[in-house]
Amino acid sequence: MTSPLRTISRMGIAALITALLVACSGGTGQNQSQVAALIQIREVIKTNREIKNAKPREVTREVIDQIGQTLVEVEVPRRDLTGYFFLDSVRGPVQVWVDSSGAHLVLREGLVTGTRGVGDDLKSSSYASTLEAIKRGSGTSRRQYFVANGLGQQDQINATCTYSMLGAETLSIYGLTHATRKVRESCRTDSGQEFQNTYWIETSSGLVRQSSQWISPQIGHFDLRILNTSQS
């Protein structure tokens, strides 16, 4: 005993489809209507398609020199993504690096202590005892990570880490060589998860030239490299 939709005519359906396509809103204030939400959805679908289709260009020594600034290259193995960051601001020992999508990377003497705009961000983390232990290449430290959860709040993850020296290694990064010493950080969170971070510290400058650092349970590791221009 089903009832058919009232058939006003094809005109009714045509009018509806037209309305969806040309749905528009305007005015001088904030528009809270359902239609405005529909329009926003339409725009997001378009932009997402553009992002998917954009092909990243390959990075070479020439490209880095052409840009003329130091870059931080970040690879996210779990998501198969690579990003390139430019230095945005410096506050004492803290550097804030920004990429073209507006994501932020906060580095304190080579240690990642925060991200923003990456998704599942590391909001903040401890640093003092960790930096000391990395420089020493031995001993232990306690780390606290404050990580965004999906509900707009943060979770605290505590980990105990031990450090060991893995010897010397020469890195070749886009044609430039760097002599480094390698430090391994082995960590275990209070809930039993284990991960390892590695730091390649340049012997000449003390800079953390390359590193693999665990960021948050959802992201996993960032693999960072500092790309200098040939002149710097």
């Binding site: 926003q40 998501r79 430019f86 999508s101 705009g117 707009g152």
Partner: protein, 721 residues
């Protein structure tokens, strides 16, 4: 202090090439395959964790939502399940039984509610144990109670994967065969399709015979599962009506995890029928699209007094013109971040900014961004920042932050917790004396034209009816606190007018939808004028007049008491309502009524809102509505409500009393872009005339609370975003 932006890079590069090379950035918008979600049990044909027709002792992860559609032998069950608390699972179900011919219906449709409480969590040696009520309110065709225990075994006997073993005891429908006696008495009333239903049948829970049931689920790997169960459901009614033949007590099934949210299954039931099911589970914690928000501008630290004493001078505060200069410097920077500057008042040591958050789900993000802009623009002598958030010209609350804390704490561990320890929350004053107000704040005019869909649920003949067409609406704010708004619709097509006419004995305040839909294709949905203001720092007031909703027009006045730091709010609302003509133009019918409520709102713990409204409803009945909502900081809300009035269940009609569930989905959860829009839907098993409240636009509580202390502290971890 080098500050090299992306624009600089573009210029140096000489072309867009290298920068465009990094266009994708580190935007992690692609969802992972099988992200690390907590493992969740599969659902049964009733939509709860279980086997095929049998329940298990398990629960879903806290806050999880599930939608299950199952079908066999002409019986379709559609269930919405919510893990309301870590141990409480609640479900609302809609069923269709084809060709059953009972109660005067060839196809019998019904709604039911389930609840399950987990008594014991699974441990190393202890199984998970739950007690549950199936179809406990309503006409009870599926009524059953049970106690079930489930234990997981990893790689038993060398098999891959995991095996879940479930055993339990069932009453009611789950004691159809193989019962072992009646432990709590044998007095159990049977199913009566003529009963109005709707009330919890407490006199029958755990009464009558009880029968043991059992089953096994083998999760071969993370995609494939196999189920086998010994079901005690005799399907007495269905087999008697010839819907299907029950040849066996055994059910079998194979399930396949198609994607990380969707699981599909095929089954062989009762030795004679093929069944299918589709189940979707998702959790507000894991967004459909991961949320990404572009990072903020850095905080500029003030120079030290010793190195630059001029920067610290307070001469600027003496001149009125400087207020305008500062305001004009801040307004565009705030606007670019989706924040509207409404007023600014700066003195030598303190500044108050009044803003409206137009972009962010959580006001805490807007407060953090506003504080950064204040730190960048205001002269060094200003130490204390007061930020008042506004919503539609109502000051919600004031946050007081020390500038030195902003400068020092941004990159420290637990930066948000540390900042919160140095932040104060105060009730917002109605006015900001001496403030510099942006000249073009009013008037503001918005309009939109687009499609609309208006559904109507659970008519016995048709589970979903809908009307669709084009809607045009406008909102005109001509002065602070004043609004004129309206919506007109043009119905293109729909079938609501073909529904059944009301048989209600009460004034037909809500059940004449069919007559309204049939009378006109061009209704004025609403057209009204409203004024809202803040009489004192803890009170809010509103007056609205006009055509307030589809069926009623009139006058509404409301007063709300909500201090910023209080979890409790109290409100009172009084309305005069008159029923509108069926043509939904400017005329009225004769029926009019004075309605009103006294309301108490309480923000319980971190996640819950309890609301009680007591008063007089549209049909002239007196009573109270109780609402409990689980709210997530990311905007998701799931809630249930019921209303008890002096209308008897016979007068009310089917369902006995008004009840339902509400679901609010934040738009940015779906899109991944910042947005503070939500979409809300209420589902009532039955829409009758008892316990009906006037639907007034712009009630105060929701306008006020997202800028007050509770909401801000809840989401304070986002303040540095």
């Amino acid at each position: 202090m080098a500050k090299q932006g992306i624009m600089t890079a573009l210029i140096l590069a000489g072309a867009l090439g290298p920068a465009a090379a990094f266009a994708q950035g580190l935007n992690l918008n692609r969802p992972l395959r099988f992200p690390e979600t907590p493992s969740t049990p599969s659902l049964n044909f009733y939509g709860l964790p279980g086997l095929v027709d049998l329940p298990s002792g398990e629960a879903m992860p806290d806050g999880q939502l599930g939608v299950t559609v199952s079908h066999f032998a002409g019986q379709t069950r559609t269930t919405l399940t919510f893990q309301a608390l870590p141990r409480v699972t609640a479900a609302f179900r809609y069923i269709g039984l084809q060709d059953i011919n009972i109660g005067g219906f060839e196809t019998y449709r019904d709604r039911s509610f389930d609840v399950r409480f987990q008594l014991l969590r699974e441990g190393d040696y202890v199984p998970a144990v739950s007690v549950g009520l199936q179809d406990f309110a309503g006409t009870g065709i599926y009524a059953a109670e049970y106690v079930a225990a489930t234990k997981n075994f990893d790689r038993p006997f060398g098999l891959s994967g995991r095996v879940k073993v479930t055993a339990g005891l069932g009453w009611g429908r789950l004691a159809g065969v193989g019962d072992i006696g009646a432990p709590f008495g044998s007095d159990r009333p049977g199913f009566d399709p003529a009963d109005n239903g709707g009330s919890p049948a407490t006199d029958q829970w755990f009464r009558g015979p009880a029968a043991p049931f059992a089953g096994i689920e083998w999760l071969v790997n993370d995609r494939l599962g196999i189920k086998a169960e010994y079901s005690t459901d005799a399907y007495v009614l269905e087999t008697r009506q010839g819907v299907f033949e029950r040849d066996s007590r055994l059910n079998f099934g194979i399930e396949y995890q198609y994607s990380d949210r969707l699981r599909l299954g095929g089954y062989w039931l009762y030795g004679s029928e093929i069944g299918v099911s589709a189940q979707v589970q998702f959790n507000p914690r894991r967004p459909a699209t991961p949320k990404v928000l572009s990072g903020p501008r850095p905080i500029i630290e003030r120079p030290s007094r010793a190195s630059n004493p001029q920067a610290w001078s307070t001469d600027w505060a003496a001149s009125q013109a400087s207020q305008g200069v500062i305001r004009d410097a801040m307004a565009p920077e705030l606007a670019e971040q989706g924040i509207r500057l409404i007023a600014l008042s700066a003195s030598a040591s303190q500044a108050e900014l009044r803003i409206q958050n137009n972009r962010y789900r959580n006001t805490s993000v807007a407060v953090g961004r506003a504080a950064r802009t204040m730190a960048r623009v205001l002269p060094a002598s200003v130490e204390t920042f007061r930020i008042t958030t506004m919503q539609n010209d109502l000051p919600q609350g004031t946050v007081v932050i020390q500038r030195a804390a902003l400068e020092r704490l941004e990159f420290e561990p637990d930066s948000s917790g540390q900042l919160l320890a140095r932040t104060r929350f105060e009730s917002a004053q109605p006015d900001l004396p001496g403030a510099s107000i942006l000249p073009d704040t009013h008037p503001k005019f918005n309009w939109s034209i687009g499609p609309y869909l208006s559904p109507s649920y659970f008519d016995p003949d048709e589970p979903i009816r809908a009307d669709a067409g084009i809607a045009a609406e406008f909102r005109y704010r001509f002065a602070p606190g004043w609004l004129v708004a309206g919506e007109v619709r043009a119905r293109a097509l729909g079938n609501i007018e073909n529904g059944r006419l009301s048989n209600s004995v009460l004034p037909r305040v809500r059940t004449d939808g069919v007559l309204y839909a049939a009378e006109t294709d061009f209704p004025i949905e609403n057209l009204y004028i409203a004024h809202q203001w803040k009489p004192s720092e803890n009170t809010f007031a509103r007056v609205t007049a006009g055509y307030l909703e589809s069926f009623f027009g009139g006058v509404s006045a409301e007063l709300l008491w909500k201090p910023n730091t209080s979890r409790l709010a109290l409100g009172v609302e009084a309305n005069y309502a008159r029923q509108r003509d069926f043509d939904q133009l400017f005329g009225f019918q004769d029926y009019d009524v004075l309605t009103g409520h006294v309301s108490a709102y309480y923000e319980l713990g971190d996640d819950y809102l309890v609301q009680v409204d007591a008063g007089r409803y549209l049909a002239g009945d007196h009573g109270a509505t109780f609402t409990l909502t689980r709210e997530f900081t990311n905007g998701w809300r799931v809630g249930g409500f019921f209303t008890l009035t002096d209308v008897s269940s016979e007068e009310f009609g089917e369902g006995s009393f008004d009840k339902g569930i509400s679901l609010t989905i934040p738009v940015d959860w779906l899109l991944g872009r910042p947005s503070n829009r939500t979409t809300t839907t209420s589902i009532r098993p039955v829409r009758r005339d008892g316990g009906a409240r006037l639907s007034v636009p712009g009630r105060l509580y929701e306008q006020v609370r997202d800028g007050q202390q509770n909401a801000l502290v809840e989401s304070w971890s986002r303040v540095w975003e």
